[in-house]
Assembly symmetry: C2
Homo-oligomer: 301 residues x 2
């Protein structure tokens, strides 16, 4: 009955604000501010920062300075600096940028994948396999994002079998971790339980991260349920910045600052210093020039 008897006492937080948080914002943060943001994050105790995306800048102009950002930041020992990579061309730039890990991505929904990268899921596999192979050969680790796992804005529900089949293929590519995305924020705790029960029957819990959006206010309850199922890795975005540009109605990543309030309150360690993190949240809120969705920031900076 006691959740504390089951959940791990140390949870990995993957801070995605420099990439997922900024990619869809109308304000394009200057390169020097992105570098300042990442450098500040590096000293909060967070062990993983997704610093940018090497997707074609025509698609995501706000992250066109990926190489400059990666080259400009301080590399703090113990912090893993990762970037999103869509294909070999992106990988080439990412390797030049000397990131520690690359993240490949795919959608569990055919329609969403098509709208996102103009390819079917089956057409996407060879590209991802090639990127993963080359990245591993270059001594990098590889992570994968699987989006719309809990529902798609175009197709509605997504079969768990589909998620299992895709996971199998992605793990076979040698990925270190698979981030399961609730891209449009439709998941509720029972669904988390149902999907994870099937997945964890087949794969280790340590192979997954959860990536929740707070669109319907469910993110924190879904984290609680995921902890309960043995998940030890969560993506979150400082201040709750970000969403998915290809998912209508999607808004608000789970806020790192809110997540820490819950985890630290529950005596689960993350290695992150709350006070330092909130200062960085205030920095980015000021730069974005609007109230961010995070609850922790509402009481003021």
């Amino acid at each position: 009955m006691n959740i504390n008897d089951r959940v791990e006492k140390y949870i990995n937080i993957n801070e995605v604000v420099p990439r997922d948080g900024l990619q869809n914002e109308s304000i394009i943060l200057p390169t020097k501010d992105k570098i300042a943001l990442i450098n500040q994050l590096s000293y909060t105790g967070v062990k993983y920062i997704e610093i940018t995306s090497f997707v074609n800048p025509r698609w995501i102009p706000s992250l066109a300075d990926a190489l400059e950002v990666a080259k400009g930041i301080e590399r703090v020992p113990g912090v893993k600096y990762a970037a999103l990579v869509p294909n070999l061309k992106g990988l080439e730039r990412a390797l030049k940028a000397e990131v520690d890990e690359v993240s490949i991505f795919l959608s569990a929904s055919e329609t969403h994948n098509k709208k996102n990268i103009n390819k079917s899921i089956n057409q996407t596999y060879p590209i991802l396999r090639e990127v993963a192979k080359e990245a591993l050969a270059a001594g990098k680790t590889v992570r994968a994002y699987l989006s719309t796992v809990f529902g798609c804005p175009y197709e509605g529900s997504i079969s768990v079998d589909q998620v299992v089949a895709i996971s199998e293929i992605l793990f076979d590519m040698g990925i270190r971790e698979l981030s399961l995305g609730d891209t449009v924020g439709v998941a509720h705790p029972s669904q988390i339980e149902e999907v994870l029960e099937v997945l964890l029957n087949r794969f280790s819990a340590k192979g997954f991260a959860m990536h929740f959006h707070n669109t319907r206010g469910m993110a924190m309850a879904n984290v609680l349920k995921s902890l309960d199922m043995g998940i030890v890795s969560f993506d979150s975005s400082l201040g709750g910045l970000g969403g998915c540009p290809y998912a209508p109605g999607a808004s608000g990543n789970l806020a790192t600052d809110d997540l820490l309030y819950m985890l630290h309150g529950m005596n689960i360690q993350t290695g992150i210093d709350d006070n330092r993190l909130v200062k960085v949240a205030c920095y980015i809120q000021e730069k974005m020039n609007r109230k961010l969705p995070s609850h922790s920031l509402r009481s003021g900076c």
Copy 2:
């Protein structure tokens, strides 16, 4: 492991928007709009509506029309119409208004209670006992609110022993249900578990309701944990309207519409029709002339 094996399949929702939602708003809703709000709510399937407060209108001017509201609404069979009552004078008005149930209230924190009603906890008991006795004699049921159960803005943490002792005294007054309030929204799931574990060792889970504020984004996770502990009754406010006027920094009741998204998604019944309820949420959002905190309303009305 499966939460659905433990939690009840039917949960009582206590809709508090006409009282807790409106009491602290700068816009004073005209009496006819309050009546329209309650009448619409009565047809959503909700079984419990706290329609107003018989606190001295000098304290809560926005609810000065308590009697007119109570007299003006339609009484739909199967719906319990309740009101907040601070003392015998308030009870007299509530009885005249023919409410079904009266709610008495107290804070678990001495300082908060003093600031709220200018009396110590011990000085408050005889007043509550008298109200409860008279209400029961008049054939009404009695409910109690205990605020700052999980933390006080003035005193910080509140001892569980204090909560147990107060609960004992309140149950002895013949109350039907005790609503445990996280008035400033500081609670996290482990704390819910710790407090409920002690309380439910002594009292039946059926005797409690949980009253969460979403100040730090914890409300939904706390509901999930409470369900897990066997709680079957939750207070919530349509659109997330309301807070506590005497608790600095407090904001946003748990939104009924968001709560239903989770409960119904988890196959837990409430008897409430989501679509009808969202229409009422849109009605009150329009009347309040601002974006309400509910997540469900963000996708538009």
